[in-house]
Symmetry: C2
Subunit: 340 residues, 2 copies
DNA sequence: CAAAAAAGCCAAAGCGCTTTGGAAGACTCT
DNA sequence: AGAGTCTTCCAAAGCGCTTTGGCTTTTTTG
């Protein structure tokens, strides 16, 4: 059932039927109702390929997926996706993942924009002066950054959580508890979120005349194994920290294992606070010692990103609005006063 | 730069240029070279929307993503996606995720097929007599099932791992080590993989005149917390198992925690074997006691699924070929002889 | 060497929609 | 009543590609 047939069976022109369906004003309400009705009754759905060719709009949002044998997709991605999908579903938006060589995403961005394959894109895990952000904003496609970039002479729309604030609060709490030597086990420090977290910790320490020792900050890919290794190194060297802030629950697993392997305890010997993106399959309250966390649902962020992208596509949102979500500090058993 | 312009500048018809580019035989090789050359030089890329409208082919593969506030996407998904994306990239295939109400995926399948939005789809986490498999095979779109369904009177193409064989081997090893009371902490037993795994365990036990106690098999969503709870229940009741087979590494985290909480040890009191889908961020060899596993890279499966889908789209693969991958049994420190 | 076959190219008709530029009729205003 | 203004609809021109059917020109064949 295509437009032509529908129009014919209504004894109307394609023009009128099309307009009636798309809510244009220049059609009699009575006629519109007839058309809508017939469309529904016959299950007419405009062919998206045709509509797309005619309008250039695809009804999809895009994401360039860095791939490669040595490239791992962040497990946070599925949670983000859950939220994004949940919103997208209610608006009949599809998501296109365009795999790209991790070292050359530009080609892919250019392709999907030139081909008008998607109406908007989002960018995740941005770095300072992220070339994707610069590229996409010149390409002129609606977009949204999940996270933040820095160091541009232009603004751009983003959704981020207050990483600096979160880690500032976490560190401040630890300092209040008497800890003097903190360590930060962070994610890849080329990414903005990691930089912000480090900044937050440093700021809290500085406020009490303390500082983050050079060897007390690790920047690693956020795996259990790396959390373990970092912790071993931190605790086995002289000047070991009495408290650790950690950028992910998965790494925290490794931290806990390392502490235990060394015959130490949490929070007796080491206090621990980790960032929790809220996974259904791994919860901080279920750690052997319930884990204190800075908590922010990445799933909600996914839903919000979808919502804002939809708004930008339809022109409801414009400009370079940045949105920063506060992060909860949830205190559980893994923090205590510094050991004597 | 569109076809018309390119044709005009070559003083050829659109027909000829199109044919030259698409490898049709009825064009002079000399001419074809000229065309190819000019196309490359001017960076001509046929507009996919137009091509799509004309041919009905989209160059994308589809996946219907079940969503909803209460629906969690399996974290395995990202690893699968890594593999899929890696292959898809090399063939300029994009992946379309169409979010659907988890309770009504049929509408979405029908939509994406009717709209010819994608050239092929894959289905994951199938159940016996999975309605999606039945649906998609009547819809007549190329597809592949990742996993297996059962109980149909027709065949269908799939890629699966030998879950039954894997858990059979695992259980057999435990029995050989003298264990008489095994338990299985399984995933959702409405899914085929879980059924196969249970079948594997039962078969191994039966071969030695043993059986799986009714209370010794748990079927739960595969989270750390559920692994913990199941293990507590198993070990605190009378007739506690001395060995546990577990369907995921994430649940195994909970198993380990529960065992420890109960003041027991692995493998002294309980032997443990878990299935490992090979995550970069959580490795069985890094468990406090290195974990024995049945191992199969879900990432490789993703790549293979993409490869076969591409083959089916281009007509290189046909029919209902099923492919079952063997699973490695990797023995590490978490198994030992049954306690006296 | 004429007839048949093959090679190489083209004009034009889709694919199914949106949108432009009218046009006919109904309505308002002076 | 005539001019002007809405209202409501339509024919037709795209969007950029593929593909059908045909038309020349060249090559092959008996």
């Amino acid at each position: 059932m295509n437009l032509k047939q529908l129009a014919h069976m209504l004894a109307l022109s394609q023009t009128t039927v099309s307009r009636a369906l798309n809510g244009y004003p220049e059609v009699n309400e009575e006629t519109r109702r007839r058309v809508m009705d017939a469309a529904k009754r016959h299950g007419y759905r405009p062919n998206p390929s045709a509509r797309r060719l005619a309008t250039g709009k695809s009804g999809m949002i895009g994401y360039v997926l860095p791939t490669g044998a040595a490239v791992d997709i962040d497990p946070h991605f599925v949670e983000f996706l859950s939220g994004l999908g949940d919103y997208a579903r209610s608006h009949e938006l599809d998501l296109v993942l365009s795999p790209a060589d991790a070292d050359d995403q530009e080609t892919t961005y250019r392709r999907i924009v030139a081909n008008r394959q998607v109406d908007a894109v989002y960018i995740s895990s941005p770095r300072p002066q992220d070339s994707r952000v610069a590229l996409v904003s010149t390409l002129g496609i609606p977009f949204l950054v999940h996270g933040r970039s820095e160091g541009f002479d232009f603004d751009y729309p983003y959704l981020d959580i207050d990483n600096e604030g979160a880690f500032h609060e976490a560190a401040r709490l630890l300092v209040q508890l008497g800890h003097r030597r903190l360590a930060l086990i962070n994610g890849d420090d080329r990414e903005t979120f990691a930089i912000h977290r480090e900044r937050g910790v440093r700021r809290a320490l500085a406020a009490s005349g303390l500082s983050l020792g050079e060897r007390h900050v690790c920047s690693v890919v956020m795996t259990e194994e790396n959390g373990y290794r970092a912790t071993r190194r931190l605790l086995e060297e002289g000047d070991a920290p009495t408290a650790i802030a950690c950028s992910s629950l998965i790494m925290a697993l490794g931290v806990v294992r390392a502490v235990r392997d060394l015959g130490l305890t949490i929070p007796g010997d080491v206090s621990l606070i980790a960032h929790d993106d809220v996974f259904p399959w791994l919860k901080p309250e279920n750690f052997s010692v319930p884990l204190s966390t800075t908590r922010s649902s990445i799933r909600l962020a996914g839903a919000r990103v979808a919502e804002r992208l939809a708004a930008r596509i339809s022109g409801l949102e414009e400009g370079a609005r940045g949105e920063v979500w506060p992060v909860d500090l949830v205190v559980r058993g893994s923090v205590a006063g510094a050991p004597a």
